[in-house]
């Protein structure tokens, strides 16, 4: 099957250190790929290359079979690659719908002259996307500060989805959450997958990975240590690949 997003031989060096060394990976529409590896394995650097934060020294990125250049994070967004970082990047002093529309606010004309914020439309549209993902937040006017960790994660995800993400990259989406909320976020990932979005997920939680992922890519010291299909593998095999006890090439 053709990949929706594919990287070929991506390499990134920081001075003398090769953070990512000829890594190729692909994710199809409606597929969840888990990117695993110990700290310093190069996962974050790879993700940052795909989301436009870093530029690769070597290698190519393909979206929908076409070679693309990602100049900046904004450029990545414009091409449909959304990234949800661990810190979620929400403005806590603003309310739910203002965050969903942050930087891309809807406006209307006041007195036929000046563009003013269209709170009504933004709230309405936000409600729609939250409903679509089955997310319950009592008031869209409450500030992010007053929401729980899971609700914040849901807002961050809704924001990406509203803007027609083709590819969604999630960095440790369940790290800071309680058990019940972890479950909700995983359900959310599953429902996004069913809507045809290609998802790359970084996680340390083996349970999460086996719950939602279709494939696992393990990185170790900058190189791709292996690729596993979730239904044919076990957590033990994955762990040994992460720590380097055994090298599986497929």
């Amino acid at each position: 099957m053709a990949y929706l997003l594919e990287t070929k031989d991506i390499t990134k060096r920081f001075g003398g250190l090769t953070a990512v060394d000829h890594v190729s990976l692909g994710v199809s529409a409606g597929e969840v790929v888990a990117l695993l590896g110990d700290n310093g394995a190069g996962k974050s650097t790879l993700i940052k290359i795909i989301s436009g934060v870093h530029k690769p020294d070597e290698g190519e990125i393909y979206l929908d079979g076409k070679k693309i250049e990602i100049q900046s994070p904004i450029d990545a967004l414009a091409q449909g690659i959304e990234t949800i970082y661990q810190d979620l990047a929400l403005a806590e002093n603003l309310n739910v719908y203002s965050n969903i529309f942050l930087g891309r606010e809807k406006t209307k004309k006041a007195l036929g002259l000046i563009n003013v914020l269209d709170h009504g439309t933004m709230a309405e549209e936000s409600r729609k996307v939250l409903d679509r993902l089955d997310i319950h937040i009592p008031s869209l006017k409450s500030n992010i500060r007053n929401l729980s960790g899971g609700q914040r994660q849901a807002v961050a995800i809704s924001r990406s989805i509203y803007w027609d993400a083709k590819i969604l990259i999630m960095d440790e989406p369940t790290a800071a959450l309680g058990i019940a909320e972890q479950k909700k976020v995983l359900n959310l990932v599953n429902s996004l997958k069913n809507q045809g979005i290609g998802i790359i997920i970084i996680s340390h939680q083996m349970y999460d990975v086996f719950e939602v992922a279709d494939r696992i890519i393990v990185m170790r010291r900058g190189i791709k240590a292996g690729e596993l299909v979730v239904k044919d593998t076990t957590p033990d095999e994955v762990v040994s690949l992460i720590v380097g006890a055994e090298t599986v090439k497929r």
Binding site: N93, L102, G103, R104, E105, T107, N143
Partner: protein, 361 residues
């Protein structure tokens, strides 16, 4: 027994809620207390004339409070506003005199000088914004340096003595009123009616105050209703999130510091028109007023919150105080002490209460 603790808990919760309400609304209450205090301790404080005087003498405070608000919402601070104000008084005065010498009519001189001053006054703000946004100089350092730079330039331009020989028209505008009513019921706009000498004429609504509030309203609208305004709050709330959301944070920060300078310049123009002179230190003591007004108005120094409306209330606290103490014949320095104490009090009240009013708008 259990029921009793329930009742106790409930009354304690009610008390907390009440306290929080008081915390939220202490500013209007405080203004009320000020008015009561000065009405009781002086004669003639409680009058329309005094109210007008408060607004008239408070114009610069209203401008500087608004200036500081925009910067503080982004999580920055502008220490240069007081001396940018002084700089503007000097530039405006010098230009008015220069245009007069070139043979311009008084009206043309005053207008041209004012417009030009506004443009020149944007420069310190542009520099501040550029230093903060582009070169990542801490706002404290960038604007503190600008304080020195604008002060120095003003002093150099003045070469020792305050600017003088400004067109009297400037003073007519600065001290003018919109409406005059004489005791006989004769009224007129802008100009004092022709009434017999010695007859009392009531002057209403100082021109300078009206102009000030027009500017402040326009920028309150921008802050509250436009995308740019929303982005200012977003930058103060989470700068990195704003950047990642595609907001041009650098450009917006430069704009914000320019707005701050614009309002400092307008404060300078108000001063020039009122006192018909230009002085480097015209606003030297007023930085405290500007920052205090914003903080009293409930904005957080960490950025992300604050509103024009509440800043205006903060300014009013200080303006009422200044006029009241002046009527009581206390020295100006007393005001500094009291404003300093209120500022500290505002921060303590803010921190000791649950974070209820840290909202946008």
């Amino acid at each position: 027994m259990e029921q009793r603790t329930d009742v106790e808990l409930k009354s304690r919760q009610q008390k907390a809620a009440l306290l929080s309400q008081i915390g939220k609304r202490w500013v209007p209450l405080f203004i009320l207390l000020e008015i009561i205090f000065f009405s009781l301790s002086t004669t003639g404080f409680f009058s329309i004339d005094t109210a007008q005087m408060i607004l008239f003498y408070g114009t610069e405070i209203f401008f500087l409070g608004t200036a500081e608000l925009f910067v503080i919402i982004t999580g920055g601070i502008d220490l240069s506003v007081g001396f940018v104000m002084g700089f503007a008084t000097v530039i405006a005065s010098k230009l008015m005199v220069a245009f007069g010498a070139l043979g311009f009519s008084p009206l043309a001189s005053v207008l041209a000088a004012s417009v030009l001053t506004v443009f020149i006054g944007l420069l310190p703000g542009f520099m501040n914004g550029w230093l903060v946004a582009q070169l990542r100089v801490p706002a404290f350092i960038a604007t503190f340096s600008m304080l020195g730079i604008t002060r120095g330039i003003s002093e150099l331009l003045l070469a020792g003595s305050p600017a003088k020989n400004l067109p009297p028209l400037a003073g007519d505008i600065g001290n003018g009123y919109l409406l005059f009513i004489s005791k006989g019921g004769v009224f007129s706009f802008f100009k004092r009616p022709e009434v017999p000498r010695g007859q009392y004429v009531w002057s209403l609504i100082p021109v300078i105050v009206v102009l000030a509030f027009i500017f402040i309203l326009i920028f309150a609208f921008i802050l509250k209703r436009t995308r740019f305004g929303q982005h200012i709050y977003a930058i103060g709330g989470n700068k990195e999130a704003a950047e990642r959301a595609g907001i041009n944070v650098k450009r917006d920060l430069i704009k914000v510091y320019m707005i701050s300078s614009l309002f400092a310049t307008l404060a300078g123009l108000a001063y020039t028109f009122k006192y018909i002179t230009g002085k480097a230190d015209a606003g030297s003591g007023m930085l405290l007023d500007g920052i205090a007004a914003v903080v009293i108005g409930g904005a957080s120094m960490n950025g992300g919150s604050g509103s024009v409306w509440r800043t205006i209330l903060g300014c009013t606290v200080i303006a009422v105080l200044e006029t009241g103490l002046r009527i009581m014949n206390l020295q100006t320095f007393t005001t500094y002490v009291v404003v300093g104490v209120i500022l500290i009090m505002a921060v303590i009240v803010d921190q000791s209460l649950p974070n209820f009013h840290r909202s946008e708008g």
